[in-house]
């Protein structure tokens, strides 16, 4: 009876479930077979990509054609090719694990490929193009295992936390992605499609209720045609635009003049940020890819959080807060000699306290509290301030405390990077492509029918795909547009 968990799988990444929001599970007959990068993103020689579901055998055969399915549960060396272009991707170890004797209890396949991003990305995209396959949602492999009785109840104990954590990680991931141009495009498309769908729905539900302005349908048709063109062009475009940076997102934040930029320079071993004794020196978000304790990370220096500065700095503060939301790990920096100031206390209350209150190993963002300028404290003095959450003392000036900070960073990053959910910008891209293609296919079906109920269904499916990338898509949203745009009622 636990098969009901299927549906939950698809809901996890969408945040709060909406009534009536149908999943745009995409191509007919799909929705059952999922794939994901299962290894973490620390530097490694091999990456493992897994699939689970009835189309696993088909996926394996598609990528290893013309060879037949390898013997069950035996590692075999195969040349992987893109099933559409025939282009070789990698020479990899593959495993065929027919259910029910597999991790999830379903038919599974594993691809052990070389760890470079190009290879991993190529294989993920190739899998996304196999009919019936779609990228896995947060925790979906584990949930399927649970659903098939492959996990004991004790093993499942942490499942809720895991799903929550992965949902959160994907949310942050999506936030990052939606920040750039691509995100804007996506939101624009979703808006256009919502409007077109709402107008078609209005025409169905109320077209005879009140005299509709001429051309509601023609307008929707035009919008769909334009959208089709834009999506097609985007999918054909070889430029990838904003590079998806891999690695944990580490954000350095704190009140002004706490020494955030000094810490960034110290960690990156180069003068990334200008430092000065003047508060408010850093006004924008400065990013630098670094190697922290052996893990790839993207280090962001942000403007000091304070109210009432000039407009440029205010924008910097806004961006800093936005970046905080997207961080995997926050390095919260305070001036150890200035803990009683309003800015410090405010930062402790609004940024540090809510995150420190979370259960360790729980879902949310990780945070390390660093008290800088320890050189200004009286030697062997008492605690800087009683009641502080766990923290580290550091002097960027003398380097005292740096070793302990690096040790703590290593532990935190190991936790962040070891979790496949937090670092799959490659998978994010594969998911992106999968849903855009699904949307485009559905728009093609819209044009091909004269039955308005069928046409609306095609738009619903298309909207479902885009809502996976840009959010929204519930019935209420459609009704809101209808009642906003049309005067309808009995």
């Amino acid at each position: 009876m636990w098969r009901g968990l299927w549906t939950l799988a698809a809901r996890a990444a969408r945040g709060p479930p909406r009534a009536c929001a149908r999943r745009g599970s995409g191509a007919p007959g799909s929705g059952a077979t999922i794939f994901a990068l299962s290894s973490g993103q620390g530097r490694c020689a091999l990456a493992v990509i897994r699939t689970s579901g009835p189309a696993s055998a088909h996926a394996l055969r598609s990528l290893t054609a013309p060879r037949s399915l390898p013997p069950a549960r035996r590692a075999s060396l195969r040349l992987l090719r893109d099933p559409r272009s025939g282009e070789p991707l990698d020479r990899a170890l593959v495993l065929w694990l027919p259910g029910p004797q597999s991790f999830t209890g379903e038919d599974c396949a594993e691809f052990h490929v070389h760890g470079g991003p190009a290879v991993v990305s190529g294989v993920l995209q190739a899998l996304g193009r196999v009919p019936g396959l779609r990228p896995a949602e947060a925790g979906e492999f584990t949930r399927r295992a649970f659903a098939h009785g492959k996990l004991t109840l004790t093993e499942v104990e942490g499942l809720g936390d895991l799903i929550h954590a992965e949902t959160e990680a994907q949310r942050r991931q999506a936030l990052r992605q939606l920040e750039g141009e691509l995100g804007q495009l996506c939101r624009g498309w979703a808006e256009t499609l919502t409007q077109a769908l709402a107008h078609v729905e209005a025409y169905i539900d109320f077209g005879e209720d009140d005299h509709f302005e001429e051309g509601v349908l023609e307008q929707a048709d035009r919008a769909v045609r334009a959208l089709e063109g834009a999506l097609g062009a985007h999918l054909r475009d070889a430029r990838r635009g904003q590079r998806l940076r891999s690695g944990a997102h580490v954000v350095v934040a704190g009140p002004p003049n706490a020494g955030k930029s000094s810490l960034v320079n110290l960690l990156s071993r180069k003068p990334v940020s200008i430092v000065s004794p003047e508060p408010g020196t850093t006004r924008d978000v400065l990013e630098t890819p670094v190697d922290l304790a052996g893990f790839p990370a993207l280090l962001s220096d942000t403007a000091g959080l304070r109210e009432g500065a000039g407009p440029v700095e205010q924008e910097g503060v806004r961006r800093a807060r936005e970046r905080l939301e997207q961080a995997d790990l926050i390095l919260a920096v305070l001036d150890a000699s200035d803990l009683a100031s309003a800015a410090s206390r405010d930062f402790l209350d609004t940024v540090v306290a809510p995150r420190a209150a979370q259960s360790p190993g729980g879902s949310g963002q990780r945070l390390l509290l660093v008290l800088n300028k320890s050189d200004l404290l009286p030697a062997a003095g008492p605690e800087p301030r009683p009641g502080l959450p766990p923290h580290l003392l550091l002097s960027c000036l003398t380097g005292a405390g740096l070793d302990r900070l690096l040790e703590a960073l290593k532990a935190e990053l190991a936790a962040v990077c070891g979790d496949p959910a937090t670092g799959p910008p490659l998978l994010t891209r594969a998911r992106h492509q999968h849903h855009l293609q699904g949307c485009l296919d559905a728009l093609g079906r819209y044009k091909g029918t004269s039955d308005l109920a069928l046409a609306a269904e095609a738009l619903r499916v298309a909207r479902g795909h885009l809502s996976r990338l840009a959010g929204g898509g519930g019935t209420e949203e459609i009704l809101d547009v209808i009642f906003r745009d049309f005067c309808v009622g009995k």
Partner: protein, 677 residues
């Protein structure tokens, strides 16, 4: 004592059942207190369906209404059906409900809406003769076996100790009438419409009434509030009525009814009133002068000013003018009946003072000399947050108490009727200790309606739209019988033998027809030669089945019967069968692809949550306070319903599942232990 109206079978019914101890103690020894299986309060669209459904299921049922002569009254529009609403009527009919059959006897102008938009969204609709509908409904209700009708206003509920095996803080065991007399009942259904603290509003005047000229129910509203039901307030309205002979129809657009008319009921092949005897409708429009009158007199219009929530859509002319200024709005002039001299101006719902209504009407084309017979008015009324009822429509708080219709925050005759049938069936099943009859979102518009209400609640009068329905292509007006009639017959016993047999015949004919259609295959070239008018692409090399050919817009069963008469001729004998085969073919592939999704939803629906779970206090499950409160209030019955409640996270759902599974295992272990003592 109750006044005896209609038929007097209740005396026998009450004598037959006197076994409950409290009934013996409380009853006056001279006149035994009447006792029914099911008591329905209210004789509107929900109440009549509920009472008739309970009686069809075999329960001795009492229908209590203020006035027997208002049973079957259409208080607002003189029409039934429409887009989405017509779907509901087909489903009510599939469960052998009344309104579709009564409409077929009383319709004076049939029109299928959305004819050109695809059969999944066809909206069966008809203008109904108010008088005929009322007469036919009363005849049906007063002649329903096991159903007794009484006049009387209910003031209070009789409550007793709860049944320990069910959730709820008490149990309803009867009702107290205004005159102090009591009736005992095993289940009680409340269908009080707009009567709970109803207030009628015209201009700045407000007076208590459930409907113009009828008393509101105040005592009952207080009882419900005291019991702890969360109450909200909604408003609705109705247009003025105009004298037919005072309208200049000659200058207006005329709409003639469909010929042949499409009946609402599966068991009717034709309707009672022939198309040539049916009445036309006329259309006119508002104009800037109407806008002016509305806008200049907003200060005289307390219904519009009130903060009570109206719908986002625009039922009143005031809301149309305010939200979409400088537009012409259409007004349909609808007949109220064959021998009625009244016209219902649909689209002109208004609450201005009466003299201003007259002024407004007079500036509309065709209505220049119109005589207003009754002013339009607004109604404000209490509704009970429908998250307090389960999908069987039984309340969480009070066992065996059911709510149906406008009391749950819906609007419309059809929405009320749909809930009425479900409440009636379930009240009866509850008495006979059978499992509840619940329609899933994947099975019908009724399921979507009730699931939306019970999991999401509503803050505006809830109206059915086809856009609310995820699986709209599968839940069509043509196939409501195959979705619900069999279940109604087997699980509830609410379906007559005749209807059941007809549904069986239709089902097997459709299956046979589809398999024959699939079995006939020609090359596309040959098909093109046989049916040249069809846009068949001849590039396909593989053979094409007759089913695929039937998918083309230009092809129907008639055209197939012409080319392969020996196989297909017989499917054109029955018009409904031929049409349904065509519809099945059109949606076949999309519906097939949706099956996976439907199954996923249904799997979640089979994961039952324990009914007596105390979400606020259970310890072994990690849930946030917010989620606990939401679950506590809505009391979802399945994992599927729980996951649709806004704010209930996927993580919370998994934790719930784990909790339920652990509990089940523990239970199983306990049961296996050898019994000592």
């Amino acid at each position: 004592m109750l006044s005896l109206r209609g038929c007097g079978r209740w005396v026998a019914a009450s004598l037959a059942k006197q076994h409950l101890p409290w009934a013996q103690f409380s009853a006056d020894s001279a006149a035994p207190t009447p006792h029914f299986d099911v008591v329905v309060i209210g004789g509107g669209h929900a109440g009549t369906e509920a009472a008739a459904a309970a009686a069809r299921c075999g329960s001795r049922t009492l229908l209590l209404t203020h006035r027997v002569d208002t049973i079957g009254q259409m208080s607002c529009n003189p029409s039934f059906g429409g887009i989405g609403k017509g779907h509901l009527m087909r489903e009510v009919d599939a469960l052998d409900g009344l309104c579709s059959r009564i409409c077929d006897q009383s319709g004076v102008h049939y029109k299928v809406l959305n004819r050109r938009k695809g059969p999944a969204v066809w909206g069966l609709r008809a203008q109904i003769d108010r008088k005929l509908y009322k007469q036919n409904m009363q005849k049906e209700i007063l002649n329903t076996p096991l159903l007794t009708v009484q006049e009387g206003a209910v003031e209070d509920l009789i409550l007793s100790e709860p049944e320990p095996e069910h959730p709820g803080k008490c149990r309803v065991s009867g009702v107290v009438l205004v005159d102090g007399s009591t009736v005992y009942a095993d289940s009680v259904i409340l269908t009080t419409g707009t009567f709970l603290r109803g207030t009628v509003v015209i201009g700045l005047e407000m007076h208590p009434a459930g409907r113009l000229g009828d008393q509101p129910s105040i005592g009952l509203a207080q009882t419900l509030e005291k019991l702890g039901f969360a109450v909200g307030r909604l408003k609705t309205g109705t247009p003025p009525r105009i004298a037919k002979e005072s309208i200049n129809f000659s200058i207006l657009n005329k709409q003639t009814p469909d010929d042949p008319p499409k009946p609402f009921s599966f068991i009717n092949e034709t309707v009672w009133i022939k198309p040539e005897d049916q009445l036309p409708c006329y259309m006119t429009h508002t104009n800037p002068k109407v806008d002016e009158i509305v806008l200049e007199n907003l200060h005289l219009n307390s219904h519009v000013k009130e903060t009570t929530r109206g719908p986002r859509y625009c039922p009143s002319i005031e809301s149309k003018v305010l939200r979409f200024p400088n537009r012409l709005h259409q007004v349909w002039l609808e007949p109220e009946g064959l021998d009625s001299d009244l016209i219902y101006p649909q689209g002109l719902s208004v609450t201005l003072p009466a003299e201003l209504q007259e002024k407004m009407i007079a500036c509309i084309r065709g209505l220049e000399k119109a005589k207003m017979i009754q002013p339009g008015y607004g109604v404000q009324y209490d509704y009970l947050d429908p998250r307090q009822i389960s999908p069987s429509l039984e309340t969480h708080l009070v066992q065996r108490l059911f709510f149906a219709g406008q009391i749950n925050g819906t609007t419309g005759y059809e929405e009320a009727a749909a809930q009425g049938v479900i409440a009636g069936i379930n009240a009866s099943l509850r008495v006979s200790r059978k499992p509840p009859f619940v329609v899933s979102r994947t099975e019908g518009y009724i399921g979507v309606l009730i699931d939306d209400l019970t999991t999401l609640g509503t803050s505006e009068p809830y109206r059915m739209f086809t856009s609310r329905v995820e699986f709209r292509l599968s839940l069509r007006p043509d196939n409501a019988d195959s979705r619900l009639t069999f279940r109604g017959y087997e699980e509830a016993g609410c379906v007559s033998q005749q209807r059941y047999e007809r549904a069986c015949w239709m089902k097997s004919s459709l299956e046979e027809g589809i398999s024959v259609l699939k079995s006939i295959e020609f090359s596309s070239y040959k098909w093109k030669q046989l049916i040249p008018e069809a846009s068949i692409s001849i590039t396909k090399s593989h053979p094409v089945s007759a089913l695929d050919v039937l998918k083309h817009e230009e092809v129907d069963m008639e055209s197939l019967a012409k080319v392969v008469p020996d196989l297909f001729k017989k499917y054109t004998q029955c018009r409904e069968l031929a049409e349904r085969l065509k519809i099945e073919a059109a949606y076949e592939s999309v519906v097939f692809h949706q099956l996976q999704e439907i199954k996923e939803v249904q799997r979640d629906e089979t994961l039952q949550l324990p009914k007596d779970l105390d979400y606020l206090t259970i310890k072994d499950v990690s849930l946030s306070q917010e989620v606990r409160e939401k679950l506590h209030f809505s009391r979802p019955q399945t994992i599927g319903a729980a996951s649709r409640i806004p704010g209930v996270t996927p993580a919370a759902i998994v934790n719930l599942l784990r909790f339920v599974k652990t509990t089940q295992q523990r239970q199983a272990t306990v049961n296996e232990l050898p019994q000592t003592d």
